[in-house]
Point group: C2
Chain length 659, copies 2
Amino acid sequence: MKENENKIKVEKNKSAAEVLESYPELKKNAVAIKYNETLKDLNEKLDKTTVVEVITTDSDEALDILRHSASHIMAQAVKDLYPNVQIGIGPATKDGFYYDFDVENPFTPEDLEKIEKRMEEIIKADKPFKHLLLPRKEVLKKFKDMNEMLKVELISEKTADDEEISLYEHDNFVDFCRGPHIPSTGRVPVVKLLSTGGAYWKGDERNKMLQRIYGTAFFKKESLNNYLEYLEEVKKRDHRKLGPQLDLYQIYEEAGSGLIFWHPYGATVRTIVEDFWKNVHTERGYRLIITPHIAHNELWKTSGHWDYYRENMYTIPTERGEYVLKPMNCPFHILIYQSKLRSFRDLPLRYCELGTVYRYERQGVLHGMLRVRGFTQDDAHIFCTPEQVEDEILSCLDIARYFFGVFGFKDYQIELSVRDTNEKEKYMGTDEMWDHAEKALVTALEKFQVDYSKQEGEAVFYGPKIDIKLVDAIGNTWQATTIQFDFNLPERFDINYIGSDSKEHRIIMIHRAMLGSLERFIGTLIEHYGGAFPIWFAPVQVVVIPISEKTHDYANSVMNRLVDAGLRAELDKRSEKMNYKIREAQDNKIPFMFIIGPREADAKSVSVRHRFLGDIGVVNLDDAISLLQNLDKQKIISFEDEWDDFEGSLAEWIKANKY
Amino acid sequence: MKENENKIKVEKNKSAAEVLESYPELKKNAVAIKYNETLKDLNEKLDKTTVVEVITTDSDEALDILRHSASHIMAQAVKDLYPNVQIGIGPATKDGFYYDFDVENPFTPEDLEKIEKRMEEIIKADKPFKHLLLPRKEVLKKFKDMNEMLKVELISEKTADDEEISLYEHDNFVDFCRGPHIPSTGRVPVVKLLSTGGAYWKGDERNKMLQRIYGTAFFKKESLNNYLEYLEEVKKRDHRKLGPQLDLYQIYEEAGSGLIFWHPYGATVRTIVEDFWKNVHTERGYRLIITPHIAHNELWKTSGHWDYYRENMYTIPTERGEYVLKPMNCPFHILIYQSKLRSFRDLPLRYCELGTVYRYERQGVLHGMLRVRGFTQDDAHIFCTPEQVEDEILSCLDIARYFFGVFGFKDYQIELSVRDTNEKEKYMGTDEMWDHAEKALVTALEKFQVDYSKQEGEAVFYGPKIDIKLVDAIGNTWQATTIQFDFNLPERFDINYIGSDSKEHRIIMIHRAMLGSLERFIGTLIEHYGGAFPIWFAPVQVVVIPISEKTHDYANSVMNRLVDAGLRAELDKRSEKMNYKIREAQDNKIPFMFIIGPREADAKSVSVRHRFLGDIGVVNLDDAISLLQNLDKQKIISFEDEWDDFEGSLAEWIKANKY
């Protein structure tokens, strides 16, 4: 449908709905109109004659309106079934809608079924959504009379005495709401309730816990099915489930929320990532440092964090004043920079540290490894001259791209955050500094030949930055890289270098993290791969499975060979059946299995099985080991990708490829 | 001198001094006697006729007595020169003696010279030491009259009302003292004052700061010279001086005392040690874990640390109760052990972690990297069955010996600490547990064929242990390894496994650290090597020195080759003179220098220089790189050791050794 086909002319005091009677095709898909950049009901009478855009079912805006209306229908259904429930708020969200209810007991799955059934009845009855504008006093009385005290609270807070209050009414249900809505309840083709959970009233921990019901709605059944499939996939990949299931990590509430305990397999993955990270950085001229986790609060007073970040800092009272558990590494890196007089000849100085920091986050926002209270930043600070800035940014982008490739992320989104030049007073630093820094970022991005979006006014007060978000296998995005100018700390700590003119100059300081934090990045890897890590960072690369006790000796020698070859191997000598052991290895997402029967023992070979490809033939042991070593060393992400090149038996392929 | 030659018979009411008149040779060297296992003055009249041992100048006991007497002489000298000074205490120490004085201003080096001069006069006057026993009242009055109020305080605290007080008097000086002493001041052949510093009265921070003068005394001038040489060597190797000088680490008082900031070179050494440690452990069946730095205090209440270790713990008040900065890793390892039901088939389970812990130590005891407030233990906990204990201990000893060898410690001292069976009530656990554990430790030590000393009553309350102390290049000892049974935590946390009988059994838990902490161990390495680390863990292995700008291109290519070869290299392109650069590289203790002039550039060779051996010839670049790689890979501790095997030019040697 072309843009113009959706525009119609509406006379003063008429509604779009009336005009649409003459456009039966358009009417079928019409949901609302856009008038003066604002969405309005189809039934809204306009106060002047004008051309308006009709919002149709193929747009995101229509989906939002549909879901918002569905949330009203759900609230009605709940009130019809449980008249004593008080209603909270019920907006549309990115993927659906929810409504919060003040109810004694949580809703059960059976309740949800009942509510969904009642919603279908309301939809079938096809009751119109009516927009009312009433005096505030009358509205407050109305809700008081209905005993909807949460609504009374909300209206009292959000509106002024003399305001007319916007309500939407359908059937026997009325809500405090700006709209717009679909014309009638019958216009909801597909609705589905999904889950329920607790939520604090107005999102504040100090308030009462309400019960939230999540649902979604679509214009097409097929879209719902796709969405449910996606949800299934998200659930399967959820690192909070896979992490403990694969024994990668666990959170022990008795020790504290938001604190990650890395179990052996998880610690192995983390150590591989760390070692690789250190190599990449030292090869590229970064200098590794290690700093303490605590410091006297004076340091944080100098940095300014004590004033504006204090509520997120863990503080430690001692006999000799208050200490702080570091929420960031910067002041420590600055101390090391300042331990000597630095000349332009020493620059750029790039200090990198895998620094574990602690930030007090509210209980409600914690989320597995992705939102935690303790995390290890892959942090670095670059101290350089203005002339060196562009090369440094370019080098950061290059490292980031290298990391993404080697960890198997094909897609990512780059955001450049610059200041709002209309509100210069909000930012630290001179025009010259901002212009120079923003120009360096843009030039580097352009030299780097990548797409990026520029976000005006999104820079933090102390400097512009680049953020990079990873896109995972099912299209979710995850914050990873930040490259951030800091015009603030060099001033506060008075950080300088001696220029070629023998005079003191203010240093340029750039914070940067490539992966973000090890916790979040490895959480992202778990979801991206659904726990089935590529061989190079899989905690166990191969499990040796003797089919009976008779081959235990040979299995031991295979195991020793694998360990000597530097591979991460396990030996499963339990007296379980072979198929049971194989199933368990597959459940544990171990890339390879070497299965050993008497024939393999005699021939000094192994029967190779891959977690996705299944049996791939008998190979002599030397070749099998070489194969794994090569996949490991070359950091092959997807064995299946390689597989496409291969025809015939694995043994032939290995031979042909000189593995 | 044979044992019996030192025994003499003394009649009742006579002194050894009187008897010794008949043994002029023995008299010359006699310092005191041992009577009933107690040291007594030569002039003491005995209360029965008996044979006593004469303590002569060749014994450690004589040295102690000499130094104690020297401290009295020093106190007299100070009082003679500065009559208003009050005296504190003045014992002999391992290497000398000290005395503390309450004085307004610290002593200057000039003061020390004056005091030493006055001591020489007192010694020359050869005044006898007299032992007095006086009523307490009279003694208190005596010291009050002299305005020695510190002594009055000490006597009041340390003695009972009806006691006779032991004093020693010589010349015009009298002190509250048990003795014994040398017969007269003239018997001090060699004395030397060394240094001065502040010390709290009775070692308590809350008390007044006194001024302490350190000195030493010997029977022979030669011994003093050896000792002064040793002190010179200690000073040269002091990690507190070398650490910052070689830019390995620094402590920033503004951030906090006792907190180590690892600068790039130090962090490099630490990372090499860490990586090596992780490999050794995973190869030997340890499983790496990583745990947080904080946890809710409940965990420490369960462990018992909250009750008996609280004053050393940093606590963090939060909205959700009090947290603790972990002072040890054990409870965290236990949580992971307990995350699953464990069977005897899963055992032994060995969790290892480079875990950074924080302990609040008093300001006064902090000492560089050796005594700190934050340190990283190379920690592990072994969970096993009683049958597995002996093999586990043996394996720990084996790892320790391997580490010591590869880090170049040829000598170490092993201590076995067992319980005092006369005070069984002081210890946790049954007789059976103690007997089993102590037997396992002894058997392992014997199988391991090493000398060890057994220390009765030195075990901690929760189990017996083995400690290993490293002996460094100049004979100092440093605590490293601990292998420690714990009968306490398995009870408190109720830690079990399912045995082959399908019943629950209490686990055996062993704490162990091989190096102790990375801070202390690397501090020890600095002192052991005087900062000149072996090539395999030297932060910079080779520095490339072009002799002029003409060879910069070739120097760059040499540098790239070295980096590609995985060597830690630096390139010194400054426009300084070659000799200046060489001197600086030597000062920085860099093992090798590759010096490059036009001839080397033409021949694709380098002129190799070693930090200790000086110039060792021109070698082609490939051979020079192979040489360094091999020394690195083989973890050669002392290049000089290797050197002994070599005759002829380096090039020939390299050829012969196929480097």
